[in-house]
Symmetry: C2
Subunit: 200 residues, 2 copies
C-alpha cells in the first residue's frame, strides 16, 4: 500500500486497520496522527495497551471485563443481587451502566445464538447463567438482548432454559425511542409501539 513507509509503519497501519470502524485509509490517517504526536498520543497509547493486556481480565462470575475478578459490579454489595441483566457483550453492559437505570448485576453471554454463523449454546456463557439463576437469592432475569432475529432467538432459548429456575424472566420494552420522530421510525417499531400502547 504505502511502499515507501517502511515495514514498521506498514505493520502499524495494518494492525490499526483491523480495529472496527477503521479501514485502510483511516488507519493510515491514524498512524500519521500518532507519529505526529508521539509524546501526547503514540507513547501513551502504547503504554495503555500494554497495561490493559497485563491487567484487564474477564470476570468469572458475569463475563465482564475489569482489573479485578470478581469485577467491581459483582463485588459491589450495594447492588441488588436479586436481579440479573443478561447482555450480549460488554459494550451493552457499558451502555446499560451509562443509562444509570439498573442497580442489579449482569451476565455477559459473549454473543448470540446464530444458525447462520454456527453459534450454538455451548459457545455462549449460558451454563453459568442457569446456575446463577438457580441461586435462591435471584428473583428476576432481565433479557436485555438486541431486537434482532438472533437476539430474539437467543431470548426464547434462554427463557426455555430458565423455565426450571424459580425466577421471572423479562425483557426490555419495545417502542418509540426517546427523541424518535415517527417519520423516521421503521414500520416494525411503530407497529410494536402501537400494540404496546398505554394510557397517556
Amino acid at each position: 500500500m504505502a511502499a515507501s513507509a517502511g515495514p514498521e509503519i506498514e505493520r502499524l497501519i495494518s494492525l490499526l486497520a483491523k480495529l472496527p470502524g477503521l479501514g485502510q485509509r483511516s488507519a493510515r490517517r491514524a498512524a500519521l496522527a500518532l507519529l505526529k504526536r508521539r509524546d501526547q498520543l503514540l507513547t501513551p497509547l502504547s503504554e495503555a495497551l500494554a497495561q490493559a493486556a497485563e491487567r484487564v481480565k474477564t470476570c468469572t462470575t458475569c463475563g465482564s471485563l475489569d482489573t479485578t475478578d470478581p469485577c467491581a459490579i459483582c463485588a459491589d454489595a450495594t447492588r441488588d443481587a436479586s436481579l440479573i441483566c443478561v447482555v450480549e457483550e460488554v459494550g451493552a453492559l457499558w451502555a446499560m451502566e451509562r443509562a444509570g437505570a439498573f442497580r442489579g448485576r449482569y451476565h455477559v453471554l459473549g454473543g448470540l445464538l446464530s444458525a447462520l454463523d454456527g453459534v450454538g449454546p455451548e459457545a455462549l456463557r449460558i451454563g453459568g447463567l442457569v446456575s446463577r439463576a438457580g441461586d435462591e437469592s435471584v428473583r428476576e432475569v432481565i433479557l436485555a438482548l438486541p431486537a434482532t432475529v438472533d437476539g430474539q432467538t437467543t431470548a426464547h432459548y434462554l427463557a426455555d432454559r430458565l423455565a426450571g429456575a424459580n425466577v421471572s424472566v423479562t425483557m426490555l420494552a419495545r417502542g418509540v425511542p426517546v427523541g424518535g420522530e415517527l417519520d423516521w421510525l421503521d414500520d416494525g417499531t411503530i407497529a410494536q409501539a402501537l400494540r404496546a400502547r398505554r394510557p397517556a
Copy 2:
C-alpha cells in the same frame, strides 16, 4: 462514560478517541475488540506502537517519515534527483507513491499557509525547499498541493519564493477525476476541466 470499566479501560478508550475518525463510541468498540483479541491484536499493536515510537524518524532532507535518515526515497539513487514533488503532508506522499506515477524525490511542507489558522511561512519546511531547489541538479519543482484556498495560496507563495532558483515550477492538472460522473462533480471542477480541454 463507562464508569464500570475501570481506569485502565477508560484511559485506553480516551486515547483511542483522539485518533482521527474515531469518536467516543467507536473508541469503545475498538477497545472491546482489542480486549477480545489480545494475542492477535492488543499485544501486537502495543508492540508496533512502541517500535514506531522508537524507530521512526523525520527525514532531515525531505520531511518524510522513515526508520532511516535520509529516508529510503531520498537515499534511492535510482530515483530522478532533478524532480522535487512538494506535498502538504506524509499522507499525500504515500498517495503519490501508491499512484506509482512519480519517480523523483519529495519535499513535505508539514502543512499549508493559512491566514485563518495563523500558519505563516516560518511554520513550514520552506527554507529547506528553496535551498534544495537551488542545487544545480534540480530542474523542476512540482507543487502537488490540494485544490483548496490554502493549497492555492501556498502554491502561489512557493512559486514566488522559487522564482529566483533556476527551476521550472509546475502544478498538478485540474480536471474530471477518473470515474467521475459529471452529474456528481462540482461546478468549479467542470469549469476548470472545460477551460483545460484538449484534443480527444
